[in-house]
């Protein structure tokens, strides 16, 4: 026993060592007088540059009667600016051989352009135009409202089980704005006046609420001058207020049956969980990989392979700035009832709450995490996003170099502890997805 622990220790030590030598991500961080945080990572290994902006605004900042605003802006802010005609934003990037996109979570909105490095200035221009004077006009609002509705139809209404996040969150949270999903309410978007959109832009799309994170093939000294020229003239906004709402405990299991256009029944469980970044958060991530990281993970092996009860089974650590949920889900095989599936999911979880995982298993998971962690730095876009996320969430962009240590510190006992503390019935929401009851006529 003693020997094994020693071995494990040596092993993790070696892993950390590995990253201490020359593999770290070098970056420079500074703040412009208008409050814009800038993070730069210079890397000449490929002629590519990722220009990204992360605005610290997500669905949790929304008014309860105006949900969906943050995500709506992710669309609206591609409409154009004082100097970019409607519909031209994407074309500049495509014609330069670049790629662009954006995404919204409950906590932040992220935009990026991935460009050949000789088009760096284009990225700076586009992002500074977006921050300085985006066009918020009725015509754009109307167009994007239809696009967002179509997105909701495609990704939620029309996709089997697509509503699960919305259905789950509204039951898992009662007071915190995490109770709605970023897609929000179409009625709210319909009801919103142009003035409200303009106000949202003025409040949140200000340099002091943004991190400009750029990674790739550039000359740092030159880039800093350009950033100054493009972004310094943008006026600072007022301080952004952040919600400070404490969600009370769930206080008992919440269950619901959702009828959907599905053929196979599905079970979705969400356990309330701590916020991101703490020791428990890292233990939860290790636990999640034990459950569903790869073919040899417990949920896959038991539910999919051996018992053939499910066509797919997965756990999802859904952690945020204030609170989290830990999701386990499985889609039943044809003819398998949700209740049977749930029982079996529960016994996989019960095992985690009863016995320590083996040394080999926790090491396997840590090895998987280490590989993923390294791979997340394979692209400039990935590095830029990681730097910005770590800076905004934890005020420490350098976690990009050190976070793995936190995973390696997780012990078998830590996993048992979070399983016991959080994976309890009175702390969860359970949804069954079942086929719509309709007459299959003869």
């Amino acid at each position: 026993m003693q020997k094994k622990i020693m071995l494990l220790f040596v092993c993790s030590f070696a892993l950390v060592q590995l990253f201490a030598q020359g593999q770290s991500i070098q970056f420079e961080k500074y703040t412009l007088p208008n409050g814009l945080k800038v993070i730069l990572h210079e890397d000449h290994s490929a002629p590519v540059v990722a220009v990204t902006t992360l605005y610290h605004v997500g669905s949790k900042n929304e008014d309860t009667a105006r949900t969906g605003f943050a995500h709506f802006f992710e669309h609206l802010l591609f409409e154009g600016s004082e100097n970019i005609k409607r519909g031209e934003f994407d074309k500049y990037v495509t014609n330069a051989g670049g790629q662009l996109n954006a995404n919204t979570t409950q906590d932040r909105t992220f935009y990026y352009e991935l460009l050949p490095s000789n088009q760096l200035d284009l990225g700076l221009w586009l992002e500074s135009e977006r921050m300085m004077h985006a066009k918020i006009e009725q015509v754009g609002v109307n167009t994007q409202r239809e696009v967002v509705k179509e997105e909701k139809r495609m990704r939620m209404d029309n996709r089997p089980y697509g509503s699960f996040l919305t259905e789950m969150l509204k039951r898992a949270f009662k007071v915190h704005p995490y109770k709605w999903a970023p897609i929000g309410s179409m009625d709210h978007l319909n009801a919103a006046k142009l003035e409200e959109f303009i106000q949202f832009y003025k409040t949140y799309y200000v340099p002091n609420n943004c991190v400009l994170s750029i990674a790739g093939d550039f000359n740092k000294a030159e880039l800093k001058k350009k950033i100054e020229a493009y972004f310094a003239p943008i006026p600072k906004g007022t301080d952004v207020k952040r919600p400070n709402i404490i969600e009370p405990p769930l206080g008992g299991e919440v269950r619901a049956v959702i009828e959907d256009n599905v053929q196979l029944e599905g079970v979705f469980q969400a356990y309330r969980a701590p916020k991101q970044g703490g020791e428990e958060y890292y233990a939860f991530n290790v636990l999640s990989n034990i459950l569903s990281g790869g073919e040899s993970s417990r949920m896959n092996k038991t539910l999919v392979d051996t018992k053939q009860l499910a066509v797919a089974a997965q756990s999802v650590p859904f952690f945020n700035e204030d609170e989290g949920v830990f999701i386990t889900l499985a889609i039943a095989n044809a003819g398998v009832k949700a209740a049977t599936l749930e029982q079996n999911m529960d016994s996989v979880v019960a095992e985690l709450k009863t016995n320590l995982v083996s040394e080999r298993e926790i090491q396997k998971v840590k090895n998987q995490i280490a590989t993923e962690w390294v791979s997340s730095k394979a692209s400039m876009a990935g590095i830029a996003e990681n730097l910005a996320n770590f800076e905004v969430y934890f005020g420490d962009a350098n976690l990009v170099n050190t976070e793995l240590e936190k995973y390696n510190k997780v012990t078998r006992e830590d996993v048992l502890k979070v399983a016991k503390k959080y994976l309890n019935k009175d702390n969860r929401v359970v949804l069954y997805y079942v086929p719509k009851t309709k007459a299959a006529t003869k």
Binding site: L18, L32, P33, V48, Q99, L115, E295
Partner: protein
Amino acid sequence: MKKIVFPLLFCLPLISMAQKIDRTKAPAPGKAPLIQVGSPVKFTLANGLQVFVVKNTKLPRVSATLALDLDGFMEGNKAGLGDIAGQLMKRGTTTKSKAVLDEAVEYLGGSLSTSSLSASASSLKKNFPQLMGLMAEVVLHPALSAEELEKVRKQTLSGIESSKDNPDAISNNVMKKLVYGSNHAFGEITTTATVNNVQLDDVKKYFANYWKPNIAYLVFVGDIEPETAKALAEKNFGSWAKGTVTNPSFPKVTKPAQTYVAIVDRPASVQSVVAVATAVDLAQGAPSVIPSNVMNNILGGGFSGRLFANLREKHGFTYGAYSSLSPNRQVGIFSAESAVRNEKTDSAIQEILHEINVIRNEKVGDSELVRMKNYLSGGFARSLENPATIAGFALNVARYKMPADYYQKYLTNLASVNAQQVQDAAKALLNPSQMHIVIVGNAKQIAKGLEKYGPVKYFDLEGNEVAAPTEVKADASLTPEILIQKIINAAGGKEAIESIKDIQLTGTASVMGQSLEVNQKMVLPGNMVSVMSMGGMALMKQAVVDGKYTVSQQGMEAPITDELKAELDASAVLVPEHTYIAKGYQFKIVGAEKVEGNDAIDVEITNPAGKVSHRYYDANSYLLLKTSKSQEVPGRGAVTQQQFYKAYKTVNGIQLPSEELIDMGQIKINVKYTDIKANQGLKLADLK
């Protein structure tokens, strides 16, 4: 790592040196970046295995890919063999079960994948030597167990089954077969029959015939020294015995003498998948590849191509229209494709051919050419972020005997492409008078007028030519009244139908591989209960008994609407045509159609509630062959449900189908009645 503690102090001097910028227009691009495409270190093992090492120390990870230098081979009546063998390879080794192998790979935090002509593995540097051992074990000592073969077969078959409903997959299959020919490895179609022909022995022979080190490349990419790679290659693949591989031969592909139209009839289609395709003489690495690629992208590359601008933005025929060009040293292929609304099929073909003519006959303008070159060079630059791209380059250079500096010079060569070269490429590759125009769609609605493009031929899902769906003219003398009479007579006649007081049908239904019991009882007129169950547990129940309606699924009752009532009533009748006139149904003969090879009369039925459906009767026997109705599915629009009736049997003088196939697109239910009994004296109380 540097941290700037006093941002203000730092920024102040910068303000004075800030550059002047003009915000009103997009900044011009800087000088094209210098692309450094590293050259691999190369060596060959004694057994002929060629090894490349592309060192890239940016991240502490390594990958290795083993690739056979084969373009393909004929599989004949075992088409699909290579894919199956490729999947089977990583499902266990002679000493490790699949579960043990999976765990061993994941313990190393690694990934391992295999396909018909390659295997690859990647992990962090420190675990790589062990992972390499597992990769070699999989390649050299796969278990190839009968049990795993059946699992792979099952998955492959269900994939084929679902692709039968997928018009894009049908189009792709038929297009390949027509362009390359059925005697060419590139033109083979994997079918249920060919997959079922694959035996374990074939898989073993496949590995014995083709998996030889002397036709293989092993490419390492990542944080690894060439010496280390060499030692790993020797250790793991050094003992792999060389052997003779008979080079598969590829017959010469000939283009059609004239452009023709190939229709795959799919009556359920509301959209036509149109592809205009041709074989092209364009080998990987040939000097004309770069201008040809520019030409193809101007024509149909993504959202910025001309096909998209024309078919989607200008005409609104479709959501997308694209072209693709794949060079190959045996024979390459070009195709321009779009899925368009039925009624726009002809116009879409016309516009695609128009754009092909324009790019052949007119020089591309400067701004369009520059824009496309920027687009392509940007994409090339971005692809270099992935070390596997460099490995792919090294492989291409070796396999296709390209100049060693091909990729180093790629951007320079791309930048020098001019309008004349683009036009020359179009003329050389795209001949509008020798095209295959493949359409998957509803022939009855779309075929008219297509002769102007060339002869119109018909093909089945597997690319075999079939007769044109004959335009079966409904007998003009046939009035609804006469037809109803014929249907009733065919079913056994009024008297026989009315003589049935009760009936019981028992059998099985198979749904997605699951078998259910089916039990249906009727007390006529107007009472019926139908139950589908599994292991004695009722999954689905529908009933109308003494005016009481029930529909439940897995114990949950559905709300009863008027529409549902009408449908239940219609199902509580043996030969519903018998009561149509009395109940006020409208019965309209609208045309003729083939139903599973039989000529059928298409009748539109409107029930008293106004709901429209179609019934198809055999034009000779007047037995019901098919019903079809369309249901509005939220978010998806109209979805067609079809039901086929087969294997008619005589029961107490009337004709009843003993098999029914319910086709809801994704889901199919196949019902077989094993026992049908009439007039046993069932009472209403028996309908539970």
